[in-house]
Each structure stands twice: as C-alpha cells, then as structure tokens.
C-alpha cells in the first residue's frame, strides 16, 4: 500500500538557486570586508 506524497510548497527552482547565490555573495562580501580592514570603512 503506497503512502500519500507529502505536500510541497510550490516554490520554483529559481527561488532555491537565487537563495544559494545570495548566501554566497553575502559571505564573500563579509569575508573580504573583514579581511580588508575590520568593521571600518563602510
């Protein structure tokens, strides 16, 4: 007997891809900023 599939959110694939890109860009910015002179210089 097969179980009913769990409901999904309907979130499109591009949303997941964009989320990953945002995280990568933000982490890169913070690392470069901190490596380049601490919290000063915004």
């Amino acid at each position: 007997m097969s179980r009913d599939p769990e409901p999904t959110t309907g979130t499109p694939r591009w949303a997941y891809v964009t989320a990953v890109v945002v995280v990568v860009l933000a982490v890169a910015f913070v690392v470069m900023h901190l490596a380049g002179g601490g919290l000063i210089g915004h």
Binding site: E6, P7, T8, T9, G10, T11, P12, A15, Y16, T18, A19, V22, V23, L25, A26, V27, F29, V30, H33, L34, G38, L39, I40, H42
Partner: protein
Amino acid sequence: MTLRVQGRVFRVVILLTLALVAFFGVIVAQPALIGGLAGDPSGGHIGQHFREPHHRIHDLAFGLLLGTTAIGAFVQLRAPGKNVAGQLMAAIPIVALVLAAVAGDRRVLAIPWVAVGAPTIVATLLHPDLFRSISRIRPAGSMVALVAIAALPLLAFALSNIGLQRTGANDHAALGHYGYMAAYALTVVAVGIVSSLRLEGWTLVARIAGALAVFLGVASLVFPDVEGSVGAVWAAATTAWGVGYIAIAEIVRRDDRGVL
C-alpha cells in the same frame, strides 16, 4: 522540497535573521564589547554610530530600515501563513539598499545590512506560503491611490539622495548615508504597495508604511537643520500622508470585516 522540511528551514533562517539583528543591536548599544573582539579602532568607530548629532536623521533612517526588516521577520515566528505580507515587508529595505548601492556607489554597502539582508532574502524565497499567496492579491483602490500620490515626491527624494551619494565628498557620503535615505524613500513606497495588495497580514504592513512616513516627517521637524531633513513643508506633508494612510487602511480593514 516538502512543506514540512521547507517550513523548518524557513524557521531556522528567520531565527538566524533575528539573532543577527540582536547582535548588531548589542554592538551599537554597547560598542565597547566589539572593541575586545575586533580591536579598538573598530570599537571606536562603531561607538560613533547613533551618537553624533549631525547624523541623527541618517542614523534613525538606517535603524528604521533594519527595524522594518526585524518586525517582518519577527511576525513569522507565529503563523507564517498569516503573515506573507510581513515577509515581503522584511525583504523590501534590503532590496532598496541593494538598489541604492547599485545606483549610488559601493560606500552604501555595510556589513550590518548585508549580514541581516542575506538571510532575509533567503527566508523570503523559502517562505512556505509566498508563491501560493501571490494569486490571492486584492488591491485596495484607495490605498493604491494614496501610495501613488506619495510615490512622486518620495522617488524624487530618492533620486536626489542617489545624486548626493554619487557626487558627495563629505562624511555623509563617505558613510553611505545618502544611499540609506534613498533606500528609506523607496521602502516607504514599496511597503505601501505591498500593503495595498492585501496579502495575508497586510494590516501590520500598512501601519508600518504610514509609521515610516511619520517618522521621517517628525524627525525633519524636530531636527530641521540636520542633514536629511526634508524641510518643514514636506515634513508636514509626509506626516499627514502617514497618518492618512494608516487611517485609510483601518477603514479598509473594517470594511473587510463588515464593520462599516
């Protein structure tokens, strides 16, 4: 991704967003703490935030931008499905700041809003009910009209500040403050638009849109000579618009519930 898994991931990202807001709030309130972590130069620099009189309106605007994001994220802790508009509201200041950085210059970029902004955008994209809710928008004509009235002067204000950010050689431009003011004006318009679409949880968003306008108006009246003030006439108009928008939204809300 299943609804259950995405709901859990969403909740973790929201908690991360709020933790980062709290972290930066503590740093601003107690700059001496960061001195021990990042070195005295950083601690001394951060200690100037929200404490220099000639930056009052700019600091207030930046605080309110991140405050808007924080409120939008906070309401997701309880019933995200009933606060879809709140999640969009949380993302708006971040998108506005990105636009200001792109249209202005890189001096608008700052670690606090980038660090808070990334999980905010991720949470918005992963909101369990966002994409299903978009088909259920119900624009309120009176609210749309009020936002349209405010949009022209606010967009002009935003463009003016973008110009100052690009060409400015003073400390306000160096700190990205004109970019923050441009983002603030864009945020008032965009939060107004989102609330006028009446997605789930729109009443809080409408009140925030009005309150943001009132804050700008009152700050301009209280500190008329501080950079960022819109002047007495526009301050009165901005305040009146904010109060009027909240009042109209309340009428629409009561009409929704059949009170009137």
